[in-house]
Symmetry: C2
Subunit: 396 residues, 2 copies
């Protein structure tokens, strides 16, 4: 089993990305790994309430809080103590291996966690590394270059790191106050105080530490990209004309690297598969025959049961068609206007509902163009996930 | 005067950010500094044509191309040679100071360029530095930790760097093939071969090197933020009712850190100030009385003369109002539908035109809410600058 703790809480880890605090993404990543038994978060006294609210709101499991110290190392030491002391008042017990991670590295995956844990079991300590992006130099006291390091011979030490609990706990118990106040590297403590040479494991670029404002932008874009990897087209069993087929084809073209599937919905076809509700954040609901939102509402009802909307804003696009020889554009827009109220309602459950009207032209040739434009609009809505545009009725 | 060259061309510098190659942003930043005389770009033979097309399309000035070498240092050496050899066939002449910069650092500003140049004049060499984000470690041959460096004692060496031309040229002439093939640090060459200790200058975080895909996301977000810093509300001189005033107030609320100004347009008021056309990328055109686009077209005509649309997609939002007691929603939507064709036309000139209809409710109380919603939609459109949604008519 593995305990787990977070770095020093800074405002950064409470920054909202897609309206959710950054730390919640890291917790989600850790709790999705079934063999991690406990997660210990070091948090300042003034942030404890905020942290508890986050745990409750996003239903995080297996998380215990300890008070953070004034430095990173002191916070980690507090986390280790909580795991070491098996008092009757705590549900924590001493693990064989402990992982150390930062709250501001939201994209840690099971793969690299497993690698550092296995390496820690063999070597006593292990940590993720990355190639250096910039050359590292040593300044002299007068602010001039003293010497530069050969870039290829050094690495950036990243997170996660893993340790045999006894190794890292002993290191923290034995290290000096100077280490605790000015040190930055846990692997170094294990080396210095336990003669444990950490195994270095190549990590992915996604392990980077969210440090600057631009990193928050990057994190948001990465998350948006990830939750747009799976698109589910929902249609009534009765509808399967060329309209839906063409749109599906065009959507596959827009989302070349995503998984676009289509599901029939209805009494005969049953509900959406459980796996779709557990993984898919982007839905396109196609309505050919009617101007109402019955189909869309059926889908929205199903999504109520999806826990995914706790974590991410789900997108639902209700697609309608207008043939050149049917009612006028103005009338159709009036008919569909109720989407506004519907969108307002489901926004409370973190679902972003948009409408799309595809106007069929008289000429067959322009049909492809129109549907292609519709697919481009759908792609834009899914990729951007803009809450201010929810309830809008777009036209292709 | 300062010559200037770019690092080794990699695909990254040709990556599109807001549909413009990354390198064009760096060139734009450099040519906006009037005291930089020449910019020398090292480019591979196979990328020369692409580079020439970029220079022409974005009207870059003072740029010369040299063939890049197989390594970064060899490319820089080629750039320096072009500046050194004053043949009759070249418009380049030897500068006193040369700046070395990377094409993948688009946000370099005059401030830091000036600092490194002044420091180079005094010390012979100077370079921008940043604090290390991660601890740097040295691996042993078996992939384990050998030792870690004390983070506070080291810095990341970034760009730009500046040198007395004679210093850095001599360094490149004297250094070994090993240096040219495996070295990464120009400051180190100046130190080793000319005993010149470079002055280190603290740079801003925006100097970072666009390396990973997430950096492209971050760069795009930074650029979008920058070009949304100035919002110009355009209205007819005849219109200045409470409608416009309320919207203006709400927009200022949405763009707390941006400069929101309003200009009257018309025969009496004259055109937009030159400074607005030279700096503003975001326009809100307010139409209270009419359902047409005369006002908007007047603005679009003025923007034709703006060179800014060569560099950035301009956003124009044509705002209309619908009173509860006037024509129906459907009719109004029909009336405004021509925006579609207009948007298609101006998109060719890199202008993204959107429509916004604000429906006035019967109750005064809800008015604020509606206009506030309109302002939120305007903010979303300006911040996202999504080309797929151009021509859409949104409703608040
Ligand atoms: Mg315990
Ligand atoms: Mg010359």
């Amino acid at each position: 089993g593995c305990g787990e703790r977070m770095g020093v809480p800074t405002p950064k880890q409470f920054c909202l990305v897609l309206e959710r605090p950054l730390i919640s993404y890291a917790l989600q990543a850790l709790e999705s790994v079934h063999w991690i038994e406990d997660v210990v978060v070091a948090v300042t006294r003034e942030n404890t309430e905020a942290m508890e609210a986050i745990i409750q709101r996003y239903q995080h499991k297996r998380v215990s809080l300890v008070e953070s110290g004034v430095t990173r190392h002191r916070s980690i030491f507090n986390g280790l103590r909580a795991l070491a002391e098996d008092g009757p008042d705590t549900k924590l017990s001493k693990p064989e291996v402990v992982i150390i991670h930062d709250a501001v590295r939201p994209f840690v995956e099971e793969d690299v966690l497993l690698k550092v844990v296995i390496a820690a079991k063999e070597h006593g300590a292990a940590g993720a590394i990355r190639p250096l992006v910039s050359t590292v130099i040593s300044p002299s006291a007068d602010g001039c270059l003293d010497h530069s390091l050969e870039r290829a011979r050094y690495k950036a030490s990243e997170m996660p790191q893993a340790f045999l609990f006894d190794v890292i706990y002993k290191a923290y118990q034995q290290c000096s106050d100077y280490d605790l106040d000015f040190g930055t590297e846990c692997l170094q403590l294990a080396l210095q105080y336990c003669q444990t040479k950490a195994k270095l494991v190549e990590g992915s670029p996604d392990l980077w530490k969210v440090t600057y404002k631009r990193d928050l932008y990057a994190a948001e874009a990465v998350i948006k990209e990830r939750i747009s990897q799976q698109i589910c087209i929902v249609k009534d069993v009765k509808e399967d004309g060329e309209h839906v087929g063409l749109l599906e084809e065009m959507l596959k073209n827009e989302f070349k690297h995503a998984d676009v599937t289509s599901k029939a919905l209805g009494p005969a076809a049953g509900d959406l598969p459980r796996v779709t509700l557990e993984r898919c954040c982007s839905f396109v609901c196609v309505n050919v025959m009617n101007s109402d939102f019955h189909e869309t509402q059926k889908l929205l009802k199903l999504l109520e049961d999806s826990h995914l909307s706790i974590f991410y804003p789900l997108v639902v696009i209700s697609v309608h068609f207008l043939a050149y020889n049917s009612v006028s554009f103005g009338e159709k827009m009036e008919d569909l206007r109720q989407i506004r109220e519907l969108a307002k309602e489901v926004k409370k459950r973190n679902i972003l509902l948009y409408g799309l009207l595809i106007c069929y032209p008289q000429e067959e040739l322009k049909l492809q163009q129109r549907v292609g434009q519709g697919a481009a609009i759908i792609a834009a809505l899914i990729k951007e996930r803009n809450p201010s545009l929810a309830g809008q009725l777009l036209v292709a």
